[in-house]
Amino acid sequence: MKLSTLTLSAVAAFAAFGTNPVLAEYPERPVTVIVPWGAGGGTDTIIRIFAIGFEEALGQPINVVNRTGGSGVVGHSAITHSRADGYTLGACTSEITYFDTIGLAPITPESFDLVSRLAEIPAGVTVSADSPYNSVQEVVDAAKKGGLSASGSGLGGPWHMAIAGMMKSAGGDVNTVQFIPSQGGAPALQDLVADGISIFSGSPIEARALASAGEVKMLAIMADERSPAFPDLPTLKESDVDWSMSNWFSLCAPAGLPEDIKVKIETAAKKAHGSTAVQEALAQRGITPVFDGSENFTTFAKGFASEAKSLLTDLGLAK
């Protein structure tokens, strides 16, 4: 009798232990967010700002972990390979929509459960201070005659698509402006100042420090509306070029997240994102906060992927 009670209680205890993960309220331990880009970069900054609010909303510590390299492939594939239990999340960037298109890795938006976009950084048109061009129209006209080059990211990267799309919308060919790959904004701007390239198509946020030092001129922002951080910077649409392009940063998880956990994450993320601390910290850096939620974001990512695919095919980079 005594023995069977013991066995019974042991079985009960074991059963309780075994079912624990399901019964326990998510989240019961710290959550890791994998950032596929370097510490101190744009994605990292956004996620670390967001994590402050997210930690509070979720009630668990957030560990931001940088897994860099391979043009974002290493970090993004680390996210897809982690367990879909809500304890490992990621900071997906726009690259997930075209990794597969350019043949870099079999990663698509479907490899993830997309929670929401968190922020976007619009592209821009920046030229060196001694450049003869003073408006987007002048740049476009000169570019159509040939001989101009641009830089800001890798080949097929967001800022490459930005300049290609701008020329296409202005009635030119996607390759009118020759794109020279660079390893990020800073070296591209350096090359712009040194007259190695004629246009920097990256974000005005990156160009701001050099613009205030008088080394470069910012001509336009590739957003739908003027940015509060750069009220004097006209959009392309104001120059009759119907094109906008922003690089975006999001919160994502490996595909197959349980529905209840996904809802919890999205609710907490929304609350965190809406907090004044997060909003202010992002605005201060000229980053546009966005929160579109899982459903809208998934639709948006699909649209972005097909737009990227058509541009990259025109550019001859799709495989």
């Binding site: 860099t68 390299g69 391979g70 043009s71 870099l104 890798g154 350096q190 190695g196």
Partner: protein
């Protein structure tokens, strides 16, 4: 001016000062233990700097290195085992003075010359770097291609020992730099289907492995015989007179060191050898060198600390490391979002000046800390290697894991550690391999983007005046050793 004031505020923050003091203590102890080098100390410090702000992180590295290079003289003087390779040039002089019963005098000379040499180097850094940076904002991919090539060529040719081994080491580094997705076309190379390798060989684990692990392995395989260090008298006695008499050596050493340090690939050890040779040639009593004479000790002692600061000039201005320590620093700068290059002088001048101030502070701290370590050195030298080898190994593993939070980093560290050990056993210098690893990507990327700009016309490399000048410099560095061999052969030919 406001940037300088801001920098001063940044450096005088309590946490920065505490970091500098702690890093200095660590450096002075690491340098004093035979076999633990300044480079290795810095490599092991890197994972700790992840948790710091940029200024304390960089200051910690600067302080640790400056202290370690000086205190490397301690085991050299007392036991005739140079604590770091940079002390090897004048180890005989220091040891001879010590044996004649005045170890404190030899170490005092080392300490003062290290401090003065370091300060000369920092002053050179403070004046030359911003001017060069102003000039370098006009550098495009073409100039960077030549600079990277110049750095690599110097690394292979100036490196201590056989040139062919230097080139071999360099080629190994260049090959490793090609692993991963190439930055222009996005094509994976030598990845063998591994996702981890698409990111390339992570630099810091490779570095920790190559510099720290061979030391651990050597400790296991070799047994050093026990020696008893001598007792110390008052450190400052007689130093003033010596310095007044040898001020020329002090200044010349500091300047020689700083300039050699600024050359890519040539670090504190080469600076010390060159300065020692200059001192000997200029001395009235060259026959006394190596037998306890102070001239070479002072000049080379100033040179190795001067080189340490000089090495930061190309590092900050062009992103091209001046020696192995600054090669690690480049990795840390990137991690902190401070891309080295002329732009950082425009974007964040206060951070650059803060680094300069931290450097100056570390060099001035050499005197009080140096005094303390000279007094304590007897006890430090009694620690058997069996105690610190496991600690170093543990630091290696933790550090290489922490950089990317992956066990793959540890694997990288172990593989490169074994490669580094094989290199050292066969007298192949490690520094060129590290420079190849750091500069290989830069060389290739700037070559390819320049070719893209010119649509395949190779003449672009000589199309701009500065580029053409740098190109000629590279060709000169290449032709020079060939010319030397040819001349030697000719002389031989005449004789036979």
């Amino acid at each position: 001016m406001s940037a300088i004031a801001e920098a001063f505020v940044l450096v005088t923050q309590p946490e920065v000062i505490v970091t500098i003091v702690v890093a200095s203590l660590l450096g002075i102890i690491i340098g004093a233990i035979p076999g633990l080098t300044a480079v290795m100390g810095v490599a092991l410090l890197v994972p700790i700097t992840f948790f710091m702000d940029p200024v304390p992180a960089i200051s910690a590295i600067a302080a640790l290195a400056a202290m370690a290079i000086f205190s490397g003289d301690i085991p050299g003087t007392l036991l005739r085992i140079p604590g770091t390779p940079a002390s090897a040039a004048y180890v005989d002089d220091g040891h001879a003075i010590s044996k004649s019963g005045r170890p404190e005098y030899a170490l005092g000379l080392s300490m003062i010359s290290a401090c003065v040499g370091g300060v000369i180097g920092v002053l050179l850094l403070m004046t030359a770097a911003p001017i060069l940076a102003r000039f370098a904002t006009n550098f495009s991919s073409v100039e960077y291609f030549w600079l990277a090539l110049l750095g690599l060529s110097c690394a292979a040719i100036i490196s201590a020992g056989s040139k062919i081994k230097g080139v071999l080491s360099l080629l190994f580094g260049l090959w490793v730099a090609t692993i991963g997705i190439d930055a222009v076309a996005g094509q994976p190379r030598f990845t063998f289907g591994s996702i981890e390798l698409t990111g390339g060989v992570s630099f810091i684990p490779a570095m920790i492995g190559m510099f720290a692990l061979p030391e651990v392995l050597r400790n296991i395989t070799a047994r050093a015989k026990k020696q008893e260090p001598p007792t110390m008298g008052p450190v400052f006695r007689g130093l003033g007179t010596a310095m007044r008499k040898r001020w020329r050596n002090l200044l010349r050493g500091g300047l020689t060191g700083s300039v050699i340090g600024a050359l890519p690939g040539a670090g504190a050890d080469i600076a010390a050898w060159v300065a020692y040779a200059i001192a000997k040639r200029r001395s009235k009593t060259p026959e006394k060198f190596g037998k306890g004479h102070d001239e070479g000790l002072i000049e080379a002692g100033a040179a190795n600390n001067g080189a340490l600061s000089g090495a930061w000039v190309p590092t900050l201005v062009f992103g091209i490391p001046g020696d192995s320590i600054t090669a690690i620093v480049i990795g840390v700068l990137y991690l902190k979002g401070l891309e080295p290059g002329p732009i950082i002088f425009v974007k964040t001048p206060e951070l650059v000046y803060a680094i300069f101030f931290a450097f100056l502070m570390a060099n001035l701290l050499l005197i009080p800390f140096g005094w303390a370590i000279i007094k304590a050195s007897r006890h430090l030298l009694r620690i058997p290697p069996a105690y610190f080898a496991p600690v170093v190994l543990a630091c290696c593993i933790v550090g290489s894991y922490a950089i990317n939070n992956t066990a793959f980093g540890v694997l990288t560290m172990l593989v490169f550690g074994i490669v580094g050990w094989l290199f050292e056993e066969n007298e192949i210098p490690i520094a060129p391999a590290i420079l190849g690893l750091v500069l290989g990507g830069m060389l290739e990327f700037n070559f390819v983007t320049s070719m893209l700009k010119s649509q395949g016309d190779i003449a672009i490399f000589f199309s701009r005046p500065v580029a053409a000048f740098l190109g000629v410099c590279v060709l000169f560095v290449w032709i020079f050793p060939v010319f030397g061999v040819w001349r030697r052969r000719k002389i031989k030919g005449v004789r036979t």
